[in-house]
Symmetry: C2
Subunit: 458 residues, 2 copies
Amino acid sequence: MIDLSGMISDSKAGPLYQQIVAALRRRISEGSLGLGTRLPSSRALAQDLGVARSTVVTAYDQLVAEGFAETRQGSGIFVCDVAPIRPPEAAAQPAAAVPPPVPGLLLPGAPDPDVFPARPWARCVSRVARMAPMSLSHQEDAFGDPELRREIAAYAARWRGIECSAEQVLVTSGAREALELTMEFLVEGEDIALEAPGFTPTQRFAQARGWRVHWLRTGARGAEVPQQMAKVTLLTPSHQFPLGGTLPVPQRQAFLQAAKARDGWIIEDDFDSEFRYGGQPVPAMAALDGEGRCIYVGTFSKTFSHALRLGYAILPSALVPQFRAQFIHPSAGAAITAQRPLAEFMASGQYDRHIRRARRLYAERYAAAAEALAEWPESLGYFHRHNAGMQIAFHLKESQNDTEICRRTAEAGYGVRPLSPHDPECAAQGLLIGFCQSPADDLPGQVAGLRRIVEGRR
Amino acid sequence: MIDLSGMISDSKAGPLYQQIVAALRRRISEGSLGLGTRLPSSRALAQDLGVARSTVVTAYDQLVAEGFAETRQGSGIFVCDVAPIRPPEAAAQPAAAVPPPVPGLLLPGAPDPDVFPARPWARCVSRVARMAPMSLSHQEDAFGDPELRREIAAYAARWRGIECSAEQVLVTSGAREALELTMEFLVEGEDIALEAPGFTPTQRFAQARGWRVHWLRTGARGAEVPQQMAKVTLLTPSHQFPLGGTLPVPQRQAFLQAAKARDGWIIEDDFDSEFRYGGQPVPAMAALDGEGRCIYVGTFSKTFSHALRLGYAILPSALVPQFRAQFIHPSAGAAITAQRPLAEFMASGQYDRHIRRARRLYAERYAAAAEALAEWPESLGYFHRHNAGMQIAFHLKESQNDTEICRRTAEAGYGVRPLSPHDPECAAQGLLIGFCQSPADDLPGQVAGLRRIVEGRR
């Protein structure tokens, strides 16, 4: 006979069966119902407590599911071996509020969030919620929202010279996912060529998969076609990451021809090509590709907002059916909520206007940063004026240690990053210096402050 | 002297410098301006064309950036070696419209999109767009929207018995990202224990990183604590994936104690625990954890919508500062757009109502599917009635080949999946059979159709 008197009552909070579970759980945890004790039959306990038998059956099922008790066929329900449960004191103390760290001044590769058209964007989201509510939650197609794919195809033609249809566009959670998906799909256990210096996450991704990796040594004007072409070659032709150069057209053509000869592929990572401050944007490599050998990868993280987590791949037509067969389920990580609103934003012309405005601002900031950096003495290093992108690569003398310098600059509130971790082979030292997040008037002072730290004067 | 007559005009579309670029590019591509030709000085060409000299300078800069020409210090600008550019014919043909494949009947682990409250959700998004427009684009904190983190903490206490503060919550793009981030952070080159059978993407992730992996053999009632505890142990205690069992409380406590003794960690993947069809949800393992050794991982993909791509980790308080130091930039992949709306949806009580409604429906469907499967002959195999989750694991006889069977069922329009790929060690054959996406009335017919294919009668 188990005494649960006072523990079960209609007037208490919660359903009766939960009260029974809680009461028995407590008895078991305290040890007052020991290992191997047979619980009363559900009929007996129900009578005893004055509740329906089904209530007790539900409670027993729950205790068994939780592992406090077990059913022995034909002989009833028995208490299991449960060590007394210690109340989770530590967890009950709230974590101290750690303030989120500040990303820092002169952060490379990051757009200015204040330039983002937050209110027009919110109006656009609200309009879509009213006019096309299902589009905010229902993903019919693993390749992404059909309207957004159409707008991306039109954009790629308008800004990058790529002739393609919406069918070829695969929406992803950013350039990185697009790169990883296409690499995974196309390398097929063979080899891959990556730029050095290059984009560290992609380098790590390829190495972690055990692929044979060839390094394409990359200078101010991009990589040369290697003797031995890899199955997949990943390039940043419009604006090399992180050095900033543009791959000349002859080399682009040579890469495309070599890829065809090898029955291989070029993945073009075109992450920030919209931001050229001299002349018009250089047409994409995919625009030169007559043989369907080039997969184009773009992102909204640089032009629009990293917080939306949207990017895309444009596949050669011939690859679309093969990718389709892989993406039966929406496994690419792009969230649906922002997709239709972004399509509307692009269709209305607001997106292009935003880019032009951001480009004007960043051009001023680029000029201010480059002018300030030009005053640094030659004894520190040098940089190329690429007139493009969202960062300047400042090459330090070999004797310097960029990682060590960046530890000091971080302490002083700067977000500049070291160059050397981008190169797995060679220890070229340098600083990646951003400028997009600072008003042009502030840049001379910020760059001068940085110099003092680099020179060890502070 | 270069003759560009008729190619440049004020009345033509586009800025003059672009017309000059286009005209010179064409001449170079055609070969009429050969390799090594020196271009006229900017002054001369400007005079010749009757345009400002700066216009020609801009055009030349662009040609150099594109690689059609190069500057030789002190001697002018020369044409580079450019093979004639073939028009991209192949790419210009639009890709054939490949219809997105249908995921198939009885798809395991997938919620019913028709149960999703699409209109209330859209109204909630619209309201947030009007009331808090900045929240739809600006991410202040790498850990996620503060309101959403608060709601998740309250939800975890309400439904899973976990006492925690919003500070401990890290919003991610889904359970998988939360698992990968926490594994990466905590394993530190040491070893990891994973369930077998278990979640294949996590198994692949750990193996690709070269960590030492111990397999925890997992039966209907979960894994036993191994002799040698790993640095990190990943468990699905509430509802083992893919078998469906519940880890008994004594084993949970033993794992927590062993983790403490080893100075190690438990990652609790609690992916679909809300869907228990007998009794209340079993409290989470993290709710028993008094020592701050358990990282809890949850997801909105099962309870709400996979298309939103949102999940979370709840960290022990002591780990928060270390994670903070890693996440200076919002590098976790959760898009911002749906975060504040989801917080509002949860705060209003609509989210809990939705889960209760989905659970009622799935309980009916579970019962219908289990009843239909109970009619399959013993000669085919067996299953356990776990009364939980979004799929039933049907164990086939060893002589069967589940992958081969699933090829046949896929051809017939079924989405059931083979069990054996989830187990890297042992070839236990089985089928993972979903039921959430079919009305209860349709399930007997669908399950009977599946049986005919499994038996080779169709």
